[in-house]
């Protein structure tokens, strides 16, 4: 299989079409949705670029926290983490838990909403 153009190139091409060709011709509700669509494609570009590394380090932290086997998948580990928090086995004082959640959420926001005020606040306190 080939990947020229790459997924990112294809998404960037569609985003350019919306921003430069389509959106200027739209008004009202359709113009609003075109802006949202363009923002979604920007999210997708960040996702393509950042998710693989972010998920790999998330999985590594989760394996440490949970003592999970090397081949355990991310979704299963996150379910396990949720259950342990819900049942009180883990809480905010559990070593490594808070830092893990913060690092993971920062990675997620860097993809989802990199300009959100709460992200800058979290980064400034990370030290």
């Amino acid at each position: 299989m080939h990947d020229a153009p790459s997924p990112s190139e294809l998404v960037a091409a569609v985003k350019s079409f919306i921003d430069d060709a389509a959106a200027p011709k739209l008004t009202g509700h359709a113009a609003f949705h075109a802006r949202v669509a363009s923002n979604v494609l920007a999210t997708l570009l960040r996702e393509l670029e950042q998710r693989p590394a972010a998920e790999a380090s998330e999985a590594e932290r989760l394996r440490d926290l949970l003592g999970a086997p090397d081949n355990e998948d991310l979704a299963t580990m996150n379910r396990d983490l949720c259950t342990r928090i819900r049942e009180g086995e883990f809480d905010a004082a559990t070593p490594g838990l808070f830092k893990h959640l913060k690092t993971t959420t920062i990675s997620q926001l860097a993809i989802d909403q990199p300009n959100y005020s709460g992200l800058a606040a979290a980064l400034s306190k990370l030290g």
């Binding site: 979604v40 809480d91 905010a92």
Partner: protein, 345 residues
């Protein structure tokens, strides 16, 4: 396709004309035989109600008014917690009597009437868009007054004699935790940060306060602000009987600071200023730390509300890109929850 489109337009025009005729006969009763309706236009169309702007012109005097109406005029059950339009109009009356700035109500109409279930209120000049209120130069003076004015308005709302109120839902902090936890679990989209927030909130419940009328959605977006500050408190449909700290905290939730994170109250002010004004207007003197638990609950609720909006997309109910995209805003509330937890630890 073209034929269908045409039919939709005709149906909408019919509905506009029907509303205009019904408004005109109301206006002639209340304003005199020469009253006429001008500039009728639909402002927004939520699932829960319609909002229309119009004018009643009598000789050379123009009255700018708003019609709030159940969709299609039918009395439908609104979302599980939203109160009826009739109750909303009664609350506006109670708030007005208590000195809270609200639009005056001019008429209330029953299901089955010409207008359907609806009410008419005055149209208040000013701005509701949060980012404009926080940014534009003409609100500079307003921004310096808003914390105090919001504190006084909330004290006024919370002091309303409960014996004068319609039969409202009751919901305290734990009721809301139970409700939103059930919704969250039904989505089966596990989020470890939400689990930690639920656990922390349950373990740190504050002592209850005497129940009061809670507005339920008191924040920029639902407040009309003019150059002098708070002009009107809108959107009472989530009103309930509950804890006064819920309202104070909701306007502090970072999602409603519109980027101005350093100003805890709505992105414009200091919480101590609001709390001083609240106490000066007869409310309990709360400390900022009394608001923390409720602010965390507020962020968690907003996060789950974003999941609810995304669910409308996921379930196929609303295929719009906007509903899909809001699912990627849940992480905003997760970082806010972690920032709040870090402060509390």
């Amino acid at each position: 396709m073209a034929f269908l489109f045409f039919r939709v337009i005709v149906a909408k025009m019919g509905s506009n004309e029907q509303i205009e005729r019904a408004l005109e006969s109301w206006a002639r009763r209340d304003f005199g035989d020469d009253a006429r309706i001008a500039d009728l236009k639909r402002l927004s169309g939520g699932a829960s109600q319609e909002t229309w702007a119009f004018e009643v012109v009598v000789a050379d005097k123009t009255n700018r008014l708003i019609l709030r109406r159940a969709p299609g005029g039918e009395a439908v059950a609104r979302s599980s917690e939203a109160i009826t339009l009739r109750m909303e109009s009664m609350l506006l009356g109670c708030a007005d009597q208590a000195g809270v700035p609200v639009p005056g109500v001019l008429g209330v109409f029953e299901p089955g009437s010409d207008l359907g279930e609806s009410f008419i209120m005055r149209r208040i000049d000013g701005e509701t868009i949060g980012r404009k209120i926080l940014r534009d130069a003409n609100f500079e003076t307003a921004r310096t007054r808003l914390s105090e004015q919001c504190g006084a308005a909330l004290a006024g709302i919370h002091a309303i004699d409960m014996g004068t109120l319609p039969d409202l839902p009751r919901s305290d902090g734990m009721d809301q935790i139970r409700k939103y936890e059930t919704i969250y679990r039904n989505f089966d989209l596990p989020r470890p940060v939400f689990e930690l927030a639920f656990a922390w909130l349950k373990a740190h419940q504050p002592a209850p306060q005497s129940p009061v009328l809670v507005h339920g959605d008191f924040r920029l977006g639902n407040l009309i602000v003019d150059e002098k500050g708070l002009a009107s408190v809108l959107d009472w449909e989530l009103a309930h009987i509950g804890d006064p700290r819920e309202d104070i905290a909701w306007i502090c939730v970072n999602s409603w600071r519109f980027g101005q994170i350093e100003n805890r109250v709505g992105g414009f002010g200091e919480l101590d200023v609001l709390l001083d004004a609240y106490a000066a207007s007869g409310g309990t003197r709360f400390e900022p730390r009394d608001i923390d638990w409720w602010e965390m609950l507020g962020s968690l609720k907003w996060g789950i509300m974003c999941m609810i909006m995304y669910e409308a997309f996921r379930s196929g109910g609303d295929p719009s890109v906007e509903r899909a995209a809001i699912g990627r805003r849940v992480s905003e509330t997760e970082i806010d929850l972690l920032n709040l937890l870090e402060r509390a630890l």
